[in-house]
């Protein structure tokens, strides 16, 4: 490279548009953290693309000074796939919500993850439909009262982490909008070579405020959150004295030093273990601390690279086809002047 790339600061990634989320919305914190992360990893505006679907979260691209598409409901992964396979050099981010990604766009999320297209997918999970004024979402708890479920929702909720793992996602992580862990997770996601799925617990200040207070209240959060570190025991709590053990594959909360439990009894996190990741994904408040950080991170073939490789391999083995080659494929024959002969070419 002849010229060093400019070093951009977080504010350089802002667009000239006013941010229009409700005051106090968790999206602000995420927007700031994303801009900080881009600056930190040395991203360039012209080679960064944000693709979003529909919903509050999906307004995200308008507030970034990069390239961006605010598309249609649920389809961001498909559009982002088209962008990435056309130009694998681009850094492509998908911003979506619980309704966008898991309800109307559930199919696309599943397939983009299994293909391992090198996209960074941020799912802002506020467990509510905010933009349409407060209906229950596919991650709302049973019994959720909302304008469309005045007697309480009867739909069992989905677990985004489980969905991503079932779709063979090569990188699965979770963070909280206002928590320090978000920046670390975003950096890891950006560095991951392949589809990176990040669920972000996001507070909807208007329609579902306090949904995640257990994970954000200063006094209680360390007891309610399990911070995942690869190769480290699953410890949590203010004093890091509580931990998770698995007995016959069943998780249990224990305290180190009590009941004969020692540090060696505590399960150790392993980002390459999909079964462990799935088990951790099912730990829910209030029975268990909710894991934050990277559940799974493994290497696999990137879709866009494989596709490009097929093109270059074919061109290597068969030569780069010209249009005249294309036109003259198959049984080509000559029509001579009338009464002449016909001739079949090889």
């Amino acid at each position: 490279m002849s010229q060093a790339l400019p070093v951009l600061k977080a504010k350089d990634f802002a667009s000239d548009q006013d941010v229009r989320w409700c005051p106090g919305c968790g999206d602000y914190a995420i927007l700031n953290q994303v801009k900080k992360t881009l600056a930190k990893i040395g991203a360039q505006k012209e080679s960064t693309v944000f693709v979003a679907g529909i919903g509050c979260s999906s307004r995200f691209p308008y507030y970034m000074g990069t390239y961006g598409v605010h598309s249609i409901h649920g389809r961001a992964p498909a559009i982002a796939t088209g962008v990435k396979i056309t130009n694998p050099e681009l850094d492509v981010w998908v911003v979506t919500g619980d309704g966008d990604a898991l309800s109307i766009g559930g199919n696309h999320l599943m397939h983009v993850l299994r293909r391992n297209v090198n996209l960074k997918i941020l799912l802002f999970n506020n467990r509510i439909y905010g933009l349409t004024k407060g209906q229950y979402s596919p991650t709302s708890e049973i019994g959720k009262r909302s304008p469309s479920s005045p007697m309480g929702s009867i739909d069992p909720p989905l677990t985004p982490i489980s969905i991503a793992l079932a779709a063979e996602a090569s990188f699965v992580a979770r963070a909280v909008d206002v928590d320090k862990g978000l920046g670390e997770v975003l950096e890891r996601a950006a560095a991951h070579e392949g589809s990176a799925f990040v669920e972000i617990y996001q507070d909807c200040n208007v329609f579902n405020h306090g949904e995640y207070s257990h994970a954000t209240d200063k006094d209680t959060k360390e007891d309610n959150v399990l911070r995942l570190v690869d190769g480290e025991p699953l410890l949590f709590g203010k004093d890091k004295d509580k931990g998770i053990v698995f007995t016959d594959a069943k998780p249990e909360v224990v305290t180190v030093g009590k009941g004969g439990i020692t540090l060696s009894d505590i399960a150790v996190h392993d980002e390459s273990d999909a079964t462990l990741a799935y088990a951790l994904g099912r730990l829910r408040h209030p029975d268990f601390p909710e894991p934050m950080g990277v559940f799974r991170s493994v290497q696999g073939n990137r879709y866009e690279e494989q596709l490009l490789k097929q093109v270059t391999d074919a061109q290597e083995s068969r030569g780069v086809g010209s249009l005249d080659d294309l036109f003259n494929t198959g049984d080509v024959y000559t029509i001579e002047e009338k009464n002449g002969t016909h001739q079949l070419h090889d």
């Binding site: 505006k45 390239y67 498909a78 780069v320 036109f327 198959g330 079949l344």
Partner: protein, 660 residues
């Protein structure tokens, strides 16, 4: 050796014919499509003009021996210009009773019927649904009205291959070649093309020289059987057509579409990414392009129709040539995303290979009933350009033209092809790449500190906006489905701006008419009747009008390649004729448009039977249109190819129309 019995002592006549229509019919596993394709290739290579019509069931293997499982392939080959696969069949090859039952109604009176006698046993006759104790081969009516040749094809083929050591099943698979051999003899065709094909497929590609040998043996045995057996009293010769000299190959419509897209990609220097979800009858475009990686083509088999179109939009946004392909039900699913492409003013090509609808409809049968869906099937005022090819080879030019409009005007373009031309084939004069006109994409406007990039600023009189794709420094911008402010492209809820932008999107389409060639009627510039058509009905309309003109009638035809916008002189053309007939394979979609736009009392000839028009059907409608005192009805397509002027009532008992 049978082959040594030469024609020198053969007293049988060889009769010259201008054209012939041959149809191969059998179980869907009998290899009839292959036999038909081989006959087509050979006929093209001997210099005939050709047109084909494959006809296969929606089920890959419907129950063997039943009428539902019959697969057919029809070819019209001629020493003159032809435009359709032919109305009536001169020679039918029926490999079992069901095939005979399904296809006999379309054979000419006294036409040739070759039946595979071995299969005319009790079980098969029953499966075909013939009455108990009835065998058409014993029916004097049948035998008197057709030239029936009962050849025990299955048995003779077994005999000829019994020394190969192959199993009965494998031997049975060769019987289509035996049948083809008979027909090659009957129409005096050389065997070389097919022998070459068999060798290259089985020996070179599959590594099975013994299978190649058996197939060639069957083919020759069939040919020698025709020659030796004193069964056929005549054979026929169709001389080469008066085709412009040059290089040719046979192309199938979907294959031509695929080549056209690759060509457009090269002409525009934009990488083609074809995004599609498998659907009949569009899948073969995906197959063709998936095999073209060495031309730099990427294909993406999406998880569904919506993902396919969305990925194509992503491709276009990223600066590639985004194309999606589908059929009617898929187009319905893509509607919302096409709206996004309209709003974001990105180039997008949508190939819609129409089939019988509504819903799943008739997946393998043809229809032209998506015109109004293509035109209006989206929320909001959401115009797109629409063009339609007229024949299999024309799919090539149409694909280039659609891509050119999409990229030069920055709009989505829908190509309305159909199952008939997608699967049909004809000779294609091979173009030279250097002779093709490049596709010119506007370069990005210069920017500096004072002149910031404005993504919705119009570049030219086409009203195209700049195509600034990611990677271009300084051109970062955001687009989306929310209404955009004129010039800046920022989200705007301003009432006047919405009115203006709605107008801009419509105007962009209308201005394409500036580059659309004027409509030139075939025939006279004015007269008693104009027959106006679009898409795959071109061949039948053209031929019918030619015949009517041959009878001295004042009839002309006009073909619409551009459906949106239509040529700007269409209104003037229409007004020069006393009457207008619009034949369509739908219930009157173009007619509705022409009537509403030009206030002309156009009449329709409307057929929705999953089959293309026969020439005679259009001829009948022309005759009816020219009769004085025609009423206010449409021309209904009943059975038996009789056009009736009864529109408003339908007798569901007789399947005939009934005047009110």
């Amino acid at each position: 050796m049978a082959g040594q019995v030469q024609n020198k002592n053969d007293k049988r006549k060889t009769l010259a014919r201008q054209s012939a229509v041959v149809r191969f019919a059998g179980d869907s596993g009998d290899g009839m499509q292959l036999a038909g394709t081989q006959f087509t290739d050979t006929s093209a290579i001997v210099g005939n003009d050709i047109a084909t019509l494959p006809d296969y069931p929606a089920e890959i293997r419907a129950p063997a021996g039943t009428v539902a499982g019959v697969s057919g392939f029809q070819i019209n080959f001629a020493s003159e210009d032809i435009y359709t696969p032919g109305d009536k069949v001169d020679s039918l090859i029926a490999m079992n009773p069901a095939a005979l039952k399904a296809h006999l109604p379309e054979v000419k009176h006294e036409g040739i019927v070759v039946v595979n006698e071995t299969e005319f046993n009790k079980t098969n006759l029953k499966k075909a649904g013939y009455p108990a104790d009835y065998n058409p081969l014993d029916d004097d009516d049948f035998l008197d009205n057709y030239q029936v040749y009962a050849v025990p094809i299955t048995r003779l083929n077994q005999e000829s291959l019994k020394e190969t050591g192959m199993g009965a099943k494998d031997i049975g698979r060769c019987k289509n070649m035996f049948a083809l051999g008979i027909i090659y003899w009957l129409y005096d065709r050389p065997l070389e093309t097919t022998i070459k094909y068999i060798t290259s497929y089985f020996t070179d590609k599959k590594g099975k020289p013994e299978v190649a040998e058996a197939n060639i043996k069957s083919l020759k045995s069939g040919y020698y059987f025709g020659e030796t057996a004193e069964m056929f009293t005549e054979r026929y010769q169709i001389n080469r057509a008066d085709i412009t000299p040059g290089l040719y190959r046979k192309v199938v419509g979907n294959e031509a579409t695929a080549m056209g897209l690759v060509t457009a990609s090269r002409l525009s220097k934009r990488d083609l990414v074809y995004c599609s979800y498998p659907i009949t009858p569009a899948s073969t475009v995906l197959h063709a392009l998936a095999g073209m990686r060495h031309y730099g083509v990427k294909t993406f088999q999406a998880e569904d129709e919506i993902a396919a179109v969305c990925a194509a939009i992503g491709v276009s946004y990223a600066g590639g040539m985004g194309v999606t392909g589908t059929s009617g039900p898929g187009l319905a699913l893509k509607s919302e995303a096409i709206g996004l492409a309209v709003m974001t003013e990105l180039p997008l090509v949508i190939v819609n290979v129409q089939r019988g609808g509504p819903s799943t409809g008739l997946p393998t049968k043809t229809e032209q009933s998506d015109l109004l869906q293509a035109l209006w099937g989206r929320n909001g005022d959401c115009p797109v350009a629409i063009i339609a090819p007229k024949s299999p080879a024309d799919c090539f030019d149409t694909a280039i033209e659609a891509s050119r409009i999409a990229m030069e005007h920055m709009i989505p373009v829908i190509i309305l092809t159909d199952g008939y031309i997608a699967n049909g084939s004809e000779p294609w004069p091979i173009p030279k790449a250097d002779d093709l006109e490049p596709i010119n994409i506007q370069s990005l406007p210069p920017i500096d500190e004072e002149n910031k990039f404005e993504p919705y600023k119009r570049l030219d009189e086409k009203l195209a906006r700049p195509w600034a794709s990611p990677g271009n420094k300084g051109y970062e911008h955001r687009i989306g489905g929310l209404e955009k402010e004129y010039d800046t492209g920022n989200v705007s809820y301003d009432p006047d701006n919405h009115q203006k932008m709605t107008r801009v999107r419509q105007e962009k389409i209308e201005r394409i008419a500036d580059v659309v060639p004027p409509l030139e009627p075939h025939g006279d510039m004015s007269g008693d009747l104009l027959v106006l058509g679009w898409g795959g009905t071109f061949g039948a309309i053209h031929t019918a009008v030619e015949r009517a003109r041959g009878k001295g009638l004042s009839v002309s035809s006009a073909h619409l390649r551009y459906l949106n916008p239509m040529p700007s002189n269409l209104g003037d053309v229409i007004k020069r004729y006393k009457r207008v007939l619009v034949p369509e394979l739908n219930t009157g979609q173009l007619r509705l448009l022409v009537r509403s736009k030009y206030l002309v009392d156009a009449r329709g000839l409307n057929k929705v039977q999953g089959k293309p028009f026969l020439v005679e059907e259009i001829e009948q409608a022309i005759d009816l249109m020219l009769v004085d005192g025609f009423g206010d009805h449409e021309y209904l397509m009943p059975r038996n190819h009789k056009v009736r002027g009864d529109r408003h009532a339908y007798d569901f008992e007789s399947n005939e129309g009934r005047a009110k």
